[in-house]
Amino acid sequence: MSALGELLAKVAADKELVADLAARAAATKQAVEDAKAKASEIGAEDVAAGLARVEAELEQVESGRTVLEGSLEKARFQVEAAISGTGLGAPSSAHERLAEHHPDGLDVMPPHERLGRNPTGEQLMGKDPSVGPFQKEHENANSDKNLNPFARGARSAVRNSGDFKDGLDALSKPAFQSMQVKWDPPADNYYPTVGVAEPISTYTAPQHAQADLQNPVGNLFVVAVLVADWAARGIRKWKGNS
C-alpha cells in the first residue's frame, strides 16, 4: 500500500473511532437521564438540576463530536484529492500557468486561490465594493420593465457592451498576439507544396505586410449586440402590430 493510501486508511479509521464514540456518548447520556429520572422520582430537585447540567454538557459533546467527524471526512476527501490529483485543492498547474501569464488580466483562478480562505461576498461576486450595488448594470433598470425578456437582455447588453468588449479583448488578445509573433513566412517567399503526380511546384506568395489585426473579436461582439437589439425592436414592433 502506498504511503498516501496508508494515510487515507488512517484517517478513515480515525473517523470510524469518532463515529463509535457517538454510541458511547449516547450511553453515558442515557445513564445521566436515568439518574435524573430517579432523582426527580425521589424529589431531589437540586440533584436533578445538576444532572440536567451534566446532560447539557454532554449534548455539547455530541455536537462537537459531529463537527469533528465532519472535519475528518473533509481530511479524507483532501487526502483522496492528493492521491488522484483531482477535486478540492488538487495540485493543478493549469491555472497557475494562466495566472502567471495574465497576472492582472483574466479571472481564471478559483476564488479560494485568488481571495484566500475567507473571501467576502462582494469579492466572490466579482464586484467592486466602491461602485455600490445599484450602479452600472442596474442603472436605469426600471425603464426596461415593460420590455420582453429578450429585448431586456439585448438592451442591457447594449448598455454594458463596453464591459463585454473589454473582456473579450482581454480574452482574445493572447491569440492575436501569438499570431503576430509567430508570423514567420519563408525568407525567399517560396512555399513548397506537395503534389501527388506532378513534380513539386512552388507558389509565390503575394507581397506581404505583417499581419496587423486590430483585435476583431470585441468589435464583432459589439456588432452582434447591435444586431440583437435591432432584432428585439423588430420583434416588439411585430408583436405590437399583430
Partner: protein, 89 residues
C-alpha cells in the same frame, strides 16, 4: 449514589476514548507531515497541494478533539458537583 457513580465512570471512560482518538489523529497528522516532507524532498511544490490542506484539516481535528476532551472534563466536574451536593443534602 451508585447511579451518579455510574455516570462518572462512564464519562471518565468516554474521556479516555477521546484522548486515545486524539492521539490517533495526531499520529495521522504526523504521517501527513512526513509525507509532505517527502514531497518537498522530491521537489514537488507543497503549498497549495491537497495534502497540505489535509494536514491543516487534521490539525483542526486535533484541536476539536482536545475541545471534546475538555467538554467531557466539564461534564465530569458538573457530575461531581451533583455528587458532592447529594451527599451533603
Amino acid at each position: 449514589m451508585s447511579l451518579i457513580d455510574d455516570v462518572l465512570t462512564s464519562i471518565e471512560a468516554d474521556k479516555q476514548a477521546v484522548e486515545e482518538i486524539a492521539a490517533q489523529i495526531a499520529g495521522s497528522k504526523e504521517h501527513a507531515e512526513g509525507l509532505l516532507g517527502q514531497f518537498q524532498a522530491l521537489g514537488v511544490k507543497v503549498e497549495g497541494h491537497a495534502l497540505s490542506f489535509a494536514r491543516q484539516t487534521l490539525e483542526e481535528c486535533v484541536a476539536q478533539c482536545a475541545a471534546l476532551g475538555r467538554q467531557f472534563e466539564e461534564a465530569k466536574v458538573a457530575a461531581e458537583a451533583v455528587k458532592g451536593g447529594g451527599s451533603k443534602a
